[in-house]
């Protein structure tokens, strides 16, 4: 039996569909996703909710799990994510190879950082296994793997000295921004697109916010009205910056510049603060969305949407993996059909149907089993 729809699964489903669309460059519908109206985008939401779910993994339902079990569980999850990354990377390489052959277009062999895979496979395959060589748009899972490898450390701090959890994370973040610390890529020299040392902050904030009883999770719940009052102008400012191209000139800001510019790789404060404002402002929405499901006319549609997105969210790893491959395949389809509105509509609809089928298939294995632990009690309170 699967768990009932809840806010975390619902918003994670939303993030998964948004990431699928965002990862098809040039797609007509990509102009209407969160990234076009906000400094932060669905990647921030995905990582924040991953941190939120970490709370459930670390604490379980009812009594707290022994810390040794937590460590093993988190390490096991990191291995699972790593295996998924290796698998979808290999499938993506195959998609590119087949497409290049069938469309008689060798440029596809050089797409999305795949050139080195084909031109110099010996070091590049080592890089793929080490996660130091990542295909374009296949760079979120490597981030997630590293975050999950860091998770036991944060879970341990949370267990033995919870007051230090957020300060330690922020201290790492400040050092990373001040000294521009990052992870290198190899064999092609460069840096990770998603810097895990910076992105751990939004992950840990998700972990901390998921705790309703103490720390910033309790603070946020007690002061949510004030946080929304502060957050609304920040969300509006993010919107205006996008709509009227009001980005500050990054060369004019003081040093260390990463503290003052909007940068995705380092998930800089401008982006992080705007994202947290979005969370505060839109946290009011879930109770109303649930309420709308009971409306007489369009309630069924809302209920279906909740169930649909929550189903995607409950099976986020499978859906994310298939979504990544679908985004790549959609790019090939767009290339073949020359990016028309019709082909764009078709790839989005077919992609979402396949993502839903993947989630349904994953859940069909679970039917008849007892219901797993649900994050609903914590999340629904927000």
């Amino acid at each position: 039996m699967t768990r009932a729809p809840n806010a975390v699964d619902f918003w994670r489903g939303f993030a998964l569909i948004t990431i699928f669309i965002d990862h098809i460059p040039g797609l007509v519908y990509a102009s209407y996703t969160l990234a076009n109206f906000s400094i932060a985008d669905a990647a921030d939401l995905f990582v924040f909710l991953a941190g939120w779910s970490l709370r459930l993994m670390a604490e379980g339902r009812g009594e707290k799990r022994p810390i040794r079990d937590v460590m093993l569980r988190l390490f096991g999850r990191a291995l699972e994510l790593y295996a998924a990354q290796v698998l979808i990377t290999m499938l993506a390489i195959a998609v590119l190879a087949v497409s290049a052959t069938e469309l008689d277009n060798p440029l596809l062999l050089q797409w999305h950082n795949a050139a080195a895979v084909f031109s110099d496979p010996v070091p590049t395959h080592i890089g793929l296994v080490l996660l130091t060589h990542q295909l374009g748009y296949f760079d979120i899972l490597p981030l997630y793997v590293v975050l999950m490898l860091m998770a036991p450390f944060f879970a341990l701090i949370d267990r033995v000295a919870p007051a230090l959890l957020v300060p330690v994370s922020l201290a790492i973040y400040v050092c990373v921004l001040a000294f521009r610390l990052t992870l290198p890529t190899w064999p092609v020299a460069g840096t990770w697109f998603f810097n895990p040392l910076a992105w751990q902050t939004v992950f840990v904030l998700g972990f901390a916010c998921a705790d309703p009883g103490r720390g910033i999770g309790a603070f946020a719940r007690r002061n949510i009205k004030w946080l929304r009052i502060v957050g609304v102008p920040i969300v509006i400012a993010g919107l205006l910056i996008h709509l009227f191209d009001l980005w500050p000139d990054p060369t004019k800001v003081p040093n260390p510049k990463l503290f003052f510019i909007a940068d995705k790789t380092f998930d800089t404060p401008m982006r992080l603060i705007q994202f947290l404002s979005l969370v505060a402002v839109f946290s009011f929405a879930w109770p109303y969305i649930r309420k709308a499901a009971g409306a007489p006319v369009w309630g069924r549609g809302v209920e279906a949407l909740i169930g649909f997105l929550a189903m995607l969210g409950r099976n986020s790893l499978y859906v994310f993996c298939i979504g990544s491959l679908l985004s790549l395949s959609a790019q090939v389809v767009r290339l073949y059909y020359r990016g028309s509105v019709g082909s764009d509509t078709a790839v989005v609809l077919i992609g979402i149907v396949i993502m839903a089928f993947t989630a349904w298939l994953a859940e069909s294995r679970q039917r008849g089993r007892p219901a797993p632990a649900s994050p609903a009690p914590r999340s629904s309170s927000r």
Binding site: P106, A116, G136, V253, D263
Partner: protein
């Protein structure tokens, strides 16, 4: 310039000055180059990245010891996204020159030529305003793309924008096309990888040549831009 790559120089545009690179060299400063776009993801079968090859050639050509090329390519990225990211990278890395391989992803994603031109034009203007030189590297070559009207249109649009803005564009597509014509006669057995790798090896040389000429072209009178040739009709 190697003998194998020499024929491709016929497709490269004339010298445009690179005053900020020249100033850095004259002041004895480390020459800082920011590489952004698709090509940095490429490495040769025998090792050696595209940027490492350029660096080695510039050392030899310009007789300077301190050159630093920072690779910030993100594969699959459209010009509009690269332009936003490039501004941050310019602020952080403070380069004298940006090496921007642009157009291939936009062409494959069917970005309109007007939007593409505006993005490149705005970005070049921004770089000039911030005293950073730019060398544009044009679209990648595949013989099949000659039949793609949109691909050819973006190739020519880039050339037109570069001429209009008086910046160097290394016309990679045309250069490799010339090389391949030579290959057809001399090496009919060359496969796509060999052709492609040969093309990238030559690209490093073309870029190094363009930068070198740009440095020494700083005192040249400004030339009127050469009008772009008409796009070949799609077959």
């Amino acid at each position: 310039m190697s003998k194998a790559c020499a024929p491709g120089t016929a497709a490269l545009n004339g010298e445009q000055p690179l005053p900020n690179v020249a100033a850095a060299l004259a002041a004895g400063r480390t020459l800082r180059i920011l590489s952004i776009g698709a090509a940095p993801g490429r490495i040769g079968r025998h090792g050696g990245t595209y940027t490492a090859q350029i660096e080695a050639m510039l050392h030899a050509a310009l007789k300077v010891t301190r050159i630093e090329i920072v690779n910030r390519g993100v594969s699959g990225e459209l010009a509009a996204a690269a332009a936003v990211r490039m501004r941050n990278e310019v602020a952080l890395e403070e380069p004298d020159l940006v090496l921007w391989q642009v157009g291939t992803n936009d062409a494959l994603a069917y970005v309109s030529a007007e939007d593409f031109a505006q993005t490149v034009r705005d970005q070049v203007a921004w770089l000039k305003a911030h005293k950073v030189d730019v060398v544009l590297v044009g679209l990648q070559f595949a013989p099949q793309m000659l039949r793609d009207a949109h691909y050819v249109k973006l190739r020519d649009t880039l050339r037109a924008v570069a001429a209009e803005e008086h910046v160097i564009v290394v016309r990679f597509f045309e250069a490799v096309e010339i090389l391949n014509r030579g290959d057809d006669a001399a090496m009919p057995a060359a496969d796509e990888f060999e052709r492609s790798e040969a093309g990238y090896n030559c690209l490093s040389q073309y870029v190094a040549r363009a930068i070198t000429l740009g440095v020494f072209a700083r005192h040249l009178p400004h030339r009127p831009p050469t009008p772009p040739t008409a796009a070949p009709k799609p077959q």
